[in-house]
Symmetry: C2
Subunit: 83 residues, 2 copies
């Protein structure tokens, strides 16, 4: 079994309103050292397969076609062997 | 400058409807090897500080009081030195 660990993040140039809201809350709560907050998605997909090449290719397709918005987001992932 | 890299995940016992929806979509698209999908939050907080002990303690408080719902979610984080 293989598990894909996928990060889908807003491009650095894209404003993150949810992160901005968290930063503002943290400042109000007294955490004045906080300079920036960015909120992203972390997705784990488990595959009933041990074929790394196929799972790698399928995960790439899934990120491109379903999980990430190519206009505003980037993604990266790694595969991990599961028992 | 320190950056806190925080994962906020649903407890394993809690149903993840968003992940279930993605799994169903992937099966419909022909990715039949997919057995489970879990969707989590990944949050990066940048601190204008190099005091690891304080930042560690503040991040712990922030996770507990703002970012994670203790009833349904768990969190873990690591600190990374930034230039």
């Amino acid at each position: 079994m293989l598990k894909a660990k996928i990060f889908v993040q807003l491009k650095a140039s894209v404003l993150d309103p949810q992160g901005k809201a968290v930063s503002n809350s943290l400042h109000s709560l007294g955490y004045t050292a906080v300079s920036e907050t960015r909120i992203s998605k972390y997705i784990e997909i488990s595959f009933e397969s041990d074929d790394r090449a196929t799972v790698m290719q399928q995960t790439e397709e899934i990120c491109k076609n379903l999980l990430a918005n190519p206009n505003t987001e980037t993604y990266h992932f790694e595969l991990e062997q599961q028992n």
